[in-house]
Symmetry: C2
């Protein structure tokens, strides 16, 4: 583990925050974690908005210099550029493009409908999304379920989405886990998706990070 | 201009497709453009889905090898990695992270609500989004308008979003132009946003590319 002097403001079990933790675990980089209590509304506090994130979101990375980076993928990108190995955004131009392609496909076609199904449909998300639109939640749930079916075909005969393990796998893996809250899950027949979920979860760095997240939340 | 052997499948006036064209213009890279007629449903044709994009979307880049890249930002990333100068995704790790941060903020907080206001609210988008949810369109329109107000404060005293001109400026610029279709626009008092829009539009490569897009559509 490389110890880094930055501070990561985040909330365990929030997808975007967990994404950075899993990413750092795979990179072997350790960063001080500062929990932000979303249930208590800490991210809306004047101090947090002024010093860290004007848009009141997690995660955020405070670098030594007092410089703050927001957006989980931007934070991951910072560490990738600072310490390229192991590459989680791809190596060659074509690999980099393939990772970006899968990252965006999974983000826009899978994570986004799953997040919207939750925000617009789950009682616990009432404070996050006003107004909640039930019809929108229902359509997004269907869209996510259909996309998991497509993913099953895409993953057949493949270990990971973009060739080697990458940030795209982290995004899709966390999205599907989060889907459970909205009763979105792979069907029993989606064997390729299920095998891939197990493959990701069994990676030593991922397994350790997931356990740490679970213990802390 | 560097001539590249790839083929870019796209549709003029579609944000994602225009984004790649503006990006390539700034990079000084010329790629053969293959128009896909969305109004005639060409992107749903069996041939297009089989050879180019299973998800029936534009743009897509067919490389010489018959390899296809989808997702506009992935296509831009490919050209950035292949020909790093001028850097439109940032140079140093911190610059790269800042560009990614602004790119995502503009994508998620500005382009997405603008696209949703259009897809769920505009008669011309009826075929794209089923069912259209009018309430969702209205909320997203408000969100986009509020975000333009925030952007005005962020841009005060700054030439571009992430320091130097970057892909984040292209994304936000095209998003705001596209907003007109849904009656979303900067207010007269948003002088920083308006000056920045003019600054982007006046860049020689952007001006040329916009004219070409207009002439072809």
């Amino acid at each position: 583990m490389t110890r880094n002097g930055a501070k990561l403001y985040g909330a365990r079990m929030a997808i975007s925050s967990d994404r950075v933790e899993l990413f750092l675990a795979e990179k072997g980089i350790e960063v001080e974690f500062v929990p932000v209590n979303l249930m208590a509304g800490e991210h809306y506090s004047e101090d947090y908005r002024r010093r860290i994130a004007p848009n009141a979101r997690v995660p955020a990375l405070e670098l030594d210099a007092g410089t703050v980076l927001r957006e989980s993928v931007a934070i991951c990108r910072y560490f990738e550029a600072s310490q390229p190995e192991p590459a989680l955004f791809g190596g060659t131009p074509l690999e980099q493009a393939r990772v970006e392609m899968w990252q965006r496909l999974m983000e826009l076609e899978l994570l986004m409908p799953i997040a919207m199904a939750f925000r617009h449909g789950h009682p616990a998300a009432k404070a996050l999304e006003q107004p909640q639109i039930a019809e929108h939640a229902a359509v997004q749930k269907q869209r996510a379920e259909k996309r998991i079916g497509v993913l099953d075909k895409e993953l057949a005969g493949r270990d990971y989405l973009a060739g080697d393990f990458s940030i795209a796998d982290i995004t899709a893996f966390l999205a599907i886990r989060f889907g459970r809250l909205s009763k979105i899950a792979p069907e029993p027949g989606h064997v390729a998706v299920q095998a891939w979920m197990e493959r990701v979860a069994a990676r030593p760095a991922i397994a350790t990070a997931l356990q740490r997240i679970k213990d802390a939340s």
